[in-house]
C-alpha cells in the first residue's frame, strides 16, 4: 500500500514539475504575477511528494518488503539497519530517486529563501529547475521504476553487494549527488540570466553560496569514495583515473573554476560571459557523470551491472540540457553588459589564470575519458590508462599550484607581484627546504616527489601567510594582531583553510605516489618480511565468521626496531547473501604513513600470497580534502554570503579594500 502511494506520489510530482516548468515561464511572458508566484507552492509541493515517494521506498527497505522487486533484488533481511537504509540508494532505481529528491530540495530552497530575488528571475530559475526535474522524473517512471512489485514475493532478498556495506560508502552517494545536483542551481540561474539578458553582482551573490555548497558536497563525496576504494578494495591505491572516478572529478574541477570566477563576477562585475558558460558546462559535466556511471558505456573497475537502454535516455537528457544551454548561450551571451577593467597582474588576473588552467585540465581529463568511445565509433577498442593523466593533468597543475598563494595577496584591478613575492618569501624558503629535505631523505624516487612536496608546502605556507599579512603581522602588536585576525571576514578564513587543505593533499599525493613501497610474496606461517623499516611475522591464517560472512583471517605481528608495534588481521571474506568474496585489508596507521597488508589466495603448500604496501603520508590526502570542505563551510557562513542577505543598492565602485 505504501509502495503504491509512493509510486503515485512520484507520478504526481512529475505533473507538479510540469506545471512548475510551464506556468511561471508563461507568467513572465504575460506579465502575470499570479502565474509567476505559482512557482513557489509548486516547488514546495514537488519536494513534499518526492519525500513521500522516497520515504515509501525507505520503509519497504527497512521492513524488508520483498514483494517490491527493487528491495528483493538489493536487500536482505539479515542486513544491519544502516545498510538497509543505505541500500535505498545502493542501486540504480533508488539512487535516481535520491537524485530528483535532492534536485527538488534545491528548488524548494530557492522558493523559500528567494524572497529578495527579482520576481521574474525567481520564476525563471524555478521553471528551469522544474524542467530538469521533469526530465529525470520521466526517466525514473519509464525506465527505472523502483516501485515495481514482484509476485510471488521471495522468502528473502538477494542482498546488497557486500563491498557496499560500508560506512564511508553509505554516505558517499548522497554527498556526490548533492554536489552534482547542486550545480543545477548555477545552471538554472545562468539560463535565467541569459533569458533575462541581465546579470549583476546580486546574481553572483545568489549563485556563489549554492555553488560553494555543491562544491563542498562533491569534495567530501569524492574524498569518501577514494578513502573507501583505498581501504576496502585492497588494491592499495587511492585513485585509479578510472572513467567513473573521472566522471565525478570533472565537475569538481570546473566547479572549482566556477567558484573562483563567480568571485570576480560578484566583486568586480567582470567575466560575466565566462561565468555563465562555466555554469552551463559544470552542470553538463555533472549530467555526463551521471550518464557515464549509469550507462556503463565505458569499461570501469567501479562499474556495476547496467542497462544500456537507460543510458540512452540519460544521454538524451544530457544532450537536451547541454545543447539547449549552449545554444541559448550562443544566441544571448552578447547581450550581457561587459564589466570592470583590470590589469593582467591583479586579483582578477590571477583568477583568470586559475580558470584557464582548471578548465584546460578538465578538458584533458575529458579527452582521456571519452577517447575510448571515439575510438569505438571508428571501429577499434582501446583504453586510456593512468600514464596519460599523469602526463597531461599533472603538468597543468604545477603552474596552478605555483600561482595559488599569489591570488589572495594581489589587489583587485592592479596588483603588485613584487610586493606579494616579498610577503611570500618565507613560504619560498619553506618550500625549497621541504623539497631539499625530501630529496635528501629519499634520493631514489622520481623527481616529481620532492617537487610535489615543495609545491604542497608552498601552498600551505602561502595559506598561512595570507591571513597574517592581511592582519599586518610585524607592523602591529600581538594583541592587536589577534584582534585583527578575529575580525577578518569569514570568507578570507575559508579561502585560507581551503588552500591549506589543498596544499596538504598535494603533499600527501606527492609523498605516496613518489615513495610508495610494495611487495608481493608467498608467506608460510613463521615467515618474516621487511618493508619500509617494519618487520612483519606471519603467524598463519585461521577461519572465522561474522553475522553474514565466513572468513579466513591472517595474523601478522608488526615490529619496528625490535619492538612489537601492533598486530594486523587482514582477511578474505565470503559473504552469504549475495555469495561474494571480499578482501579486508589490515592497515597500521602512524604519522609516517600507512602499513597496508592484503591476504591473497592460499597456496597448495600451506603458504599464502601476501601483498604488502607502505604508503607514506597517504592520509594527508583525505585530511586535506576534509580541510577544504571545512574551508568551504566557513566561507559559507560569511555574512555577505548568507542566503537571503540584503542586496546592496548598487555595486560598490572605485577603491575596493583587499579582503
Amino acid at each position: 500500500m505504501m509502495i503504491e502511494l509512493g509510486h503515485f506520489a512520484l507520478i504526481l510530482a512529475l505533473w507538479v514539475a510540469v506545471v512548475q516548468m510551464v506556468v511561471p515561464a508563461m507568467g513572465v511572458r504575460m506579465r502575470d504575477e499570479r502565474m509567476m508566484t505559482l512557482a513557489v507552492p509548486a516547488a514546495l509541493t514537488q519536494v513534499v511528494l518526492l519525500l513521500v515517494a522516497f520515504m515509501a521506498l525507505t520503509q519497504a527497505y527497512v521492513t524488508s518488503d520483498f514483494s517490491v522487486l527493487n528491495v528483493a533484488e538489493n536487500s536482505h533481511s539479515t542486513k544491519p539497519l544502516i545498510y538497509k537504509i543505505s541500500g535505498v540508494w545502493g542501486n540504480h532505481e533508488g539512487s535516481m530517486l535520491l537524485w530528483v529528491l535532492i534536485l527538488a530540495l534545491f528548488g524548494a530552497a530557492v522558493a523559500v529563501f528567494g524572497n529578495n530575488l527579482p520576481e521574474t528571475l525567481k520564476a525563471r530559475v524555478l521553471s528551469v529547475q522544474a524542467a530538469i526535474s521533469v526530465a529525470f522524473c520521466l526517466f525514473i517512471v519509464f525506465t527505472s521504476n523502483p516501485f515495481e512489485r514482484l509476485d510471488p514475493a521471495p522468502i528473502d532478498g538477494n542482498g546488497l553487494n557486500p563491498i557496499l556495506q560500508d560506512p564511508a560508502l553509505a554516505f558517499h552517494p548522497p554527498f556526490l549527488y548533492a554536489g552534482y545536483v547542486g550545480f543545477s542551481m548555477a545552471f538554472s540561474f545562468a539560463i535565467a540570466a541569459l533569458i533575462e539578458g541581465r546579470m549583476d553582482a546580486a546574481w553572483a551573490r545568489w549563485v556563489r553560496p549554492w555553488t560553494l555548497a555543491a562544491w563542498m558536497c562533491l569534495t567530501i563525496g569524492i574524498a569518501m569514495g577514494s578513502w573507501w576504494a583505498y581501504y576496502e578494495l585492497g588494491w592499495g591505491g587511492w585513485w585509479f583515473w578510472d572513467p567513473v572516478e573521472n566522471a565525478s572529478f570533472m565537475p569538481w574541477l570546473s566547479g572549482t573554476a566556477l567558484l573562483h570566477t563567480a568571485l570576480v563576477m560578484e566583486k568586480r562585475d567582470a567575466l560575466k560571459v565566462w561565468t555563465v558558460l562555466l555554469a552551463i558546462l559544470t552542470f553538463s559535466l555533472s549530467l555526463m557523470g551521471t550518464f557515464l556511471v549509469r550507462s556503463g558505456v565505458l569499461s570501469s573497475v567501479h562499474a556495476f551491472a547496467v542497462d544500456p537502454a537507460r543510458g540512452s535516455f540519460i544521454l538524451a537528457i544530457m544532450v537536451l540540457f547541454t545543447g539547449g544551454g549552449l545554444a541559448l548561450f550562443a544566441a544571448r551571451a552578447g547581450s550581457l553588459r561587459q564589466g570592470g577593467l583590470f590589469a593582467p597582474i591583479s586579483r582578477e588576473g590571477s583568477l583568470v589564470l586559475n580558470n584557464v588552467l582548471l578548465t584546460v585540465a578538465t578538458a584533458t581529463v575529458l579527452v582521456g575519458t571519452l577517447n575510448p568511445l571515439a575510438a569505438e565509433a571508428l571501429g577499434y577498442k582501446m583504453s586510456v590508462g593512468a600514464p596519460y593523466f599523469n602526463m597531461t593533468f599533472v603538468p597543468l597543475m604545477i603552474p596552478l599550484l605555483l600561482a595559488v598563494p599569489y591570488g589572495p595577496l594581489l589587489a583587485w584591478k592592479r596588483g603588485d607581484i613584487a610586493g606579494a613575492s616579498q610577503r611570500l618569501f618565507a613560504a619560498m624558503i619553506i618550500a625549497v627546504a621541504g623539497a631539499v629535505v625530501t630529496l635528501a631523505v629519499a634520493s631514489d624516487g622520481p623527481l616529481l616527489g620532492p617537487l610535489g612536496v615543495g609545491l604542497g608546502l608552498w601552498v600551505m605556507a602561502g595559506a598561512v601567510i595570507d591571513p597574517l599579512s592581511r592582519a599586518r603581522v610585524g607592523a602591529v602588536a600581538s594583541d592587536e594582531l589577534v584582534r585583527r585576525l578575529r575580525s577578518l571576514p569569514r570568507s578570507a578564513w575559508g579561502t585560507a583553510l581551503a588552500h591549506f587543505g589543498l596544499g596538504l593533499a598535494v603533499v600527501g599525493i606527492a609523498a605516496t605516489s613518489g615513495y610508495k613501497s610494495e611487495r608481493i610474496l608467498v608467506m608460510k606461517p613463521g615467515d618474516r618480511v621487511e618493508i619500509a623499516g617494519y618487520e612483519l611475522a606471519f603467524a598463519g591464517a585461521a577461519p572465522g565468521s561474522g553475522p553474514n560472512y565466513t572468513e579466513q583471517v591472517g595474523r601478522f605481528d608488526v615490529m619496528r626496531g625490535g619492538r612489537t608495534v601492533t598486530s594486523l588481521a587482514p582477511a578474505k571474506r565470503l559473504y552469504d547473501a549475495p555469495p561474494m568474496p571480499t578482501t579486508e585489508s589490515g592497515i597500521h596507521n602512524s604519522w609516517r604513513g600507512d602499513l597496508y597488508v592484503v591476504l591473497g589466495d592460499p597456496q597448495a603448500d600451506g603458504g599464502w600470497t601476501v601483498r604488502l604496501y607502505f604508503h607514506p603520508f597517504v592520509r594527508f590526502i583525505w585530511i586535506g580534502a576534509l580541510i577544504m570542505f571545512i574551508g568551504g563551510g566557513v566561507s559559507l557562513l560569511d555574512r555577505r554570503l548568507r542566503v537571503g542577505a540584503p542586496q546592496r543598492a548598487k555595486p560598490r565602485s572605485g577603491a575596493v579594500p583587499a579582503e
Binding site: P344, Y388, P395, V522
Partner: protein, 153 residues
C-alpha cells in the same frame, strides 16, 4: 594598457595554455593508449610481440593453475580461440573460471600473454563492455546464465 591590449594578454594566455595542453595530450596518447584484443585477434596475428594491449574474454574452465610463489597461469578464451596467460600477483576477488576477464600486459615470444594487471570489478554480474561486445561479435550467445555466471546460487 588599453582594453584591446589587455584582452590580447588574456587571449594569449588561454591560447598558450591550450596549445601546451594539446601537445601534452598528443604526446601522452602516443605513449599510453592501450588497445583491446580478443584471443582470436591474437591468434590471427593482429598484435606484435612486445606491444602492450588488453586481452579480454572468458577465463577457460579448469585452466587456472598456481605456480611458484605468487605466479598464476590461466587461459583466456572467446570460445573460438584461446591464449595462455601468466600473471604474478594477487588476483581480484571476483576472478573465477567461466567469468569475463580483462588482463593488461604484453605477448611473449612463445605466444604466452604476460599480464601485469588483471582488471578487478565490484559486481559479479558486471561484464566489461568490450568483452561483452567482442563475445557477441564472435557469435557467442550470452544467455542469462552466461552473463551472470554464479550470480544465483
Amino acid at each position: 594598457m588599453t582594453r584591446k591590449q589587455r584582452r590580447g594578454v588574456l587571449i594569449g594566455l588561454a591560447v598558450g595554455v591550450l596549445s601546451l595542453a594539446a601537445v601534452l595530450v598528443l604526446f601522452a596518447f602516443r605513449e599510453s593508449i592501450v588497445f583491446f584484443h580478443t584471443p582470436s585477434d591474437v591468434t590471427e596475428g593482429k598484435v606484435t610481440a612486445g606491444q602492450r594491449f588488453r586481452l579480454g574474454g572468458l577465463v577457460a574452465s579448469e585452466s587456472v593453475k598456481r605456480g611458484d610463489g605468487a605466479k598464476v597461469s590461466f587461459t583466456v578464451t572467446d570460445t573460438i580461440k584461446s591464449v595462455p596467460v601468466t600473471y604474478e600477483g594477487v588476483l581480484p576477488d571476483l576472478f573465477r573460471e567461466g567469468q569475463g576477464v580483462v588482463a593488461e600486459g604484453k605477448l611473449g615470444p612463445d605466444g604466452t600473454f604476460v599480464a601485469d594487471s588483471v582488471l578487478a570489478k565490484h559486481d559479479e554480474n558486471y561484464m566489461p563492455p568490450e568483452v561483452a561486445k567482442a563475445l557477441k561479435e564472435k557469435g557467442v550467445k550470452l544467455g542469462q546464465g552466461a552473463e551472470h555466471p554464479g550470480a544465483k546460487p
